[in-house]
Every structure is written in C-alpha cells, then in structure tokens.
Symmetry: C2
Subunit: 365 residues, 2 copies
C-alpha cells in the first residue's frame, strides 16, 4: 500500500505524527526570543535524556558529524588513540582519528562480540608512560547489535587517565548511559534514533576534563568547534543558523519522552528487545549476538533460516507487509538482517513484526 511503510531499521526510526506536523510549521527566525525559549527548553530536556549536568551541543549534521566533532576538537597530529572496535561504527572512530593525523591502535574483537574489560585494563596497564591520550568506543554497535559495558570500560579508562569518547548514537534514549556518574568524557548521539525525529541533528556532551584537552587542540576546526557552541549556548542560541524546523520537532518529541519518563522509556526498549529475541528464538532463528547481556535494545541481528536468503526475507517483508528491516553491513551483508526497535516503537509493533516474519518464512519454506 502507498504511504504504509513501517521502519524497523536502526535509523531513521518512526516519527510520531505530532512531531511531523510541528516540524511542518513555517520556520520562525532563529535570532528571536520565541526561538530562544524553545531552544532553552530543548537544551534542558537534552540534559535530562543524556543524564548529564553538562551542556549538550546541538549540531545541524548527521550523527557522523558529532563523531567528527568529538575527535576534531581533541586531536593534534601524532596523538595516540586507542579504538575499541566491535563493528563498523567502532571502526569509524578509528578512521576519523586517523583523518586528523592520530596514531591509532585498534583493539578488535570478532563482530558480534564485545570488548572484555580485562583486555582493556591489560592494554592500558601496559601504557606506563600514559601515551594513549584518547580511547574511543561504542555502546550499542549498530552494525552487529552488540553492546559494550560502557560503565566498566569507562571506569578503566578514567583510572588510566585517557579521555573516553563514546558513540551513543543508537543507545541514548534506549539504553541506560550516565556520562557524569560513569566518567564518560565525550558522548555523542543522533536525532533519527531514540529521539523520534528525522535525521539532521546530532548531539555532543563533553566533560570538563575533555574541555581541558580541547583547549590544547591546535586546529579544532570551525563549524564544529565546541568553544563556539558553548559560548552561544550561554546566550540561548547557536553560533550558526540552526536547523530550526528539526529543533521544533525535537522540542515536541522531547516533551513526549519526558511525559513517558526515562525509566519507562528504557524499560520499554528492554522489554521490546527481549520479547523480540524470545520470539525469534521460538521461531528457531539464530541470533547474531547470543548472550542477552551483550545485546542491544536498539537493534537485533538475526541469521536467516538455512536455505532462505536475507534478500528474500527483506523483499517479502517490504512488498507484502510494508515493513523495512535492515541488511547486514559490509562483510555481514546478506549474512544477517537487522531489526530496529529503537525510538517510537511499542510492544504492538514487535508483535506485528514477529507475526509478519513468521508468515514470510513460512511462505519461503
């Protein structure tokens, strides 16, 4: 059917009708008291969902823009960066660091697995001269559906003294993450994920420790410079023209999220993901991340049943049931498919997906 498509990919995620309609209002001028009022409320609500007392900067960019902004504001050429790589997005951190002239060492595990805190501790203990300046990591790895224990890993990084830079793109608003309490120095996320709005905004929060390192950065860039955003935020505005309509959409979405309550939001993501995993197992499907304790609540990766292709499953789900699920990425393409349960997704949607997937597989058998 036309206009019936339902997104169960790890982004973009479904957007509530109320948010879409508010986004469609004629743009208001961004240098106005009216906009600043909305902007201030959005900033308060972002601190709430990011569970931090620090500023959360809003960039007009995609999530990768915030990842770029995280490292370009910290790295001088020749700096040593340790990248914990459990999938494509962990690898993206390493590539960004390299693009700014960092010497990058990767701590890699087979995709689907996560970084062992002991392995990280061992590596950092060896760094007796504190040469490693930055450690990058991912909470919910979108390409695999595995989840690092960010709390434990960041504690080890803080004890070593390096700056921790965390990708929370598909985890903020879906899984618990507490930058201030867990000692995370930089945390980024993107709008088309747990925030229930379309892509085009990205978020970054940085600790005072990270700002100290930022102040030593020789060429922190211009558009994404933390200092500019910090200065403007104190004046209730952005340094450059914000994506006004997306911020208005975010304002509405965050009010909806606050009304639901953070504990409820996180519980909903957990119970939806666990219901999905249980249902997939009952269908005899094999999960890419088998351990529930290491599984993302945002995205679940599944192997197709023997003799059935990922392409066929995705095609029938799309053509006959108007449901979009994601293929695997890179080496995992056509080996797994990925089901997003992030953002504006209810238990009803899980039941619907499971039911449609059952019919799809029956038809393909």
């Amino acid at each position: 059917m036309n206009d019936k498509t339902f997104l169960m990919i790890p982004g973009p995620t479904p957007v509530p009708e109320r948010v879409l309609l508010d986004m469609a209002k004629a743009p208001i001028p961004h240098r106005s008291a009216e906009f600043s009022k909305i902007f201030d409320e959005v900033n308060e609500d972002l601190k709430w969902i990011f569970q931090t007392k620090n500023d959360v900067f809003i960039f007009a960019s995609s999530g990768t823009g915030a990842m770029d902004a995280a490292l370009s504001n910290l790295i001088n050429p020749g700096d040593k960066v340790l990248s914990l790589v459990i999938g494509n997005f962990g690898e993206r951190w390493a590539k960004i660091a390299e693009s700014y002239g960092a010497i990058v060492e990767r701590l890699t595990v087979p995709y689907g697995e996560v970084i062992s805190p002991d392995a990280l501790k061992k590596r950092l203990d060896e760094d007796i001269n504190n040469e490693i300046k930055i450690v990058t990591l991912t909470q919910s790895e979108t390409s695999t559906g595995a989840v690092n224990d960010v709390k434990k890993l960041c504690k080890i990084i803080r004890n070593h003294g390096a700056i921790s830079v965390v990708d929370g793109v598909t985890s903020v608003g879906a899984m618990d993450i507490k930058p201030d309490e867990w000692g995370i120095d930089v945390l980024v996320s993107g709008s088309q994920k747990g925030f229930m709005i379309p892509p085009g905004l990205a978020f970054l929060t940085a600790s005072e420790r990270a700002f100290e390192v930022h102040r030593q950065c020789k060429y922190p860039g211009f558009y994404f410079s933390w200092s500019s955003y910090k200065k403007s935020l104190a004046q209730h505005t952005t340094p450059y023209t914000p994506a006004i309509n997306l911020i208005v959409a975010l304002h509405t979405a965050l009010k909806m999220l606050r009304a639901e309550g953070l504990e409820n939001i996180l519980a909903r993501h957990k119970s939806n993901a666990m219901l999905l995993r249980k249902s997939l197992r009952e269908m005899g499907l094999k999960l890419f991340v088998e351990d529930d304790e290491k599984a993302s609540y945002a995205v679940t990766s599944v192997y197709p049943p023997e003799g059935i292709s990922v392409a066929d499953i995705r095609k029938i789900l799309k053509d006959d049931y108007d449901i979009i699920v994601a293929n695997g990425q890179n080496d995992l393409k056509d080996k797994i498919f990925r089901i997003g349960t992030l953002g504006y997704i209810s238990e009803r949607d899980i039941l619907m997906l499971v039911s449609a997937l059952k019919s799809t597989i029956q038809r393909l058998n």
Copy 2:
C-alpha cells in the same frame, strides 16, 4: 495574529506550503532505490540552479558548514590566503582559514562598499612568487546588502593562478552566478535562502582545479571530506545519513523553481529588489548601498529616518503587521535594518512591506 508572521529577513526565508507538507511526510529509508531516485533528481536540479556541470555536494549542516568544508578541504597550515572582506561573512572566511592555520591577509573596504577589481589585480600582481594559494570572497554580503563583481574578480584570481572560494549563500538562485563560465573554483550556498526550504542543508561545488589542491590537503577532515561525497554521489547516495526530510523538501522546491525557470527567477529577484529600492527612496529613506549596480537582490539595508530608532521600526512591523525584518549586525546593529527579498517572495510581498513600513514610520513621526 497567531501564525501570521511573514519573514523578510535574509534567511530563513518563507517556505511554500507544498514544501512544508512534503517535508512532513514520514522519513523514507536513505539506503533505498526510492530515496536514490529523489536524490538523483535533486542533484540534477542543483546543477541546474548552480549553473555548473560539476557535482554539487549536499551536506547536512548550515551554510557555515559548507564554508568550513570549502576551506578545510584545501588548506594546509602555513598556506597563504587572501580574504576579500566587505562585511561579516567575508570576515567569516578569514576566520575559518585562520582556524586551519592559514596565514590570512585581508583586503578590506568600509562595510557597504565592494572590492575594486583594480585593487585586487594590483595586490595579486605584487604576488610575483604566487604565494597566495586561495582567495576568498562573497557575492551578496548578507550583513550589508552589497554585491561584489564576482565575474571580474574571479577572472583576475584565475589569471593569477590562486583558487577562488566564493560565498553564494544569499546569491545562488537570486543573482546570476556561473561557476564554470566565470572560473569560480569553489562555490557554497545554504538551503534556507534562495532554495525556499528551512535551514539544515548546505551545498558546495568545486572545480577540478580545486580538487587537485584538495588532494594535497593533509588533514581534510572527515564529515565534510569532498572525496567521500564525490564517491558516494557516484553511487546515488551520501556517505552519512542525509537529512532525509529536508532533501524531500528540496526536491519539491527545486521542481517549483524549475517550473518558474532560472531566467524568470533571477528577473523576479532583480525587479523586486529594484522596486523596493525605488519605493524606499520615494519615502525619503537613505539606502546603505546607494549604487544600484552594487546592490544585492537578496537583501536591502536601510537607514532609519532621523529621530526614529531601528528597534521601534522593527517592533511595530512585527507587532502590528506581523512582518519580520532584520537588524544590522555587530557595528551596524541599530544603525540600519535589513529587508530580505530572497526566495519565495513576490511583487505583492514588496508592496505589502512598503505599505506597512510607510504606516509604521507615519505612526512613529
């Protein structure tokens, strides 16, 4: 009245209802044939409005993001940049260049005036060792309403051999600019201007000469790297999640613009600006840029009548007539006000503004 606000500022500009409603459609997945079809059409239409055969890259960012992307992809620390400064946005080029370690020389004129081609030629003739690698300039200077003769200036720059980097943020789609024919190496613009959509997208086109310099750039950054966008464009997509809904909006807006025709669009902007200038003069008002030949068709700066404040004029226009005009920026704040005639503005809107401004001034007298 509620929701009656009419924007006559140099951005954001009014957005057609049809564009707003298309933007409000549920986001479609960006890695899909459906999105690629829209994306390809948008890219063709962008080449048309940019009057170039080269690619036009679409960034999820504000216009300043594209300005940053212009210079971060070209500059190595220590490079010499000549910045032609006729207002705040000319100065922004200089600041961005400095943020990447360039040695910046400014050729400055009093705000409201423009760069004399002879003065530029004289300076570049003195550069006998071709030390100046990049020259930055602005076509329509949004802070003053003055317009550089980009055609003449870029010819001089091309003869010298430097790379010309032009801010077309408030001129593309409003005033004639022909990158290929005039020898412009890099040209940038932003979505909330002549493109009739809300802020959040920015555009950049670069010549093959500029790409040669880009390939020598040691740290061109990650999110804005030209090479990534070029590679993805050939695959009908973007390297990172695009601002999907804004691209759908742009698709609709560009179709409307193509239906009007480029010659008609440029003629409309010219005749609207000239009608406004004539009407303001008839009211006895003094224009900040007196010479029509040096005046922008996107924004017109005006002094308030003696004894009347800019603040009072803007307040009555806003409160009683629901029209927003812009204040001056920085040193020009409260000295001039600026009327935008860019984008989705018709002759009817000019008549309306002139009439409301007359009533406003009569009441203040």
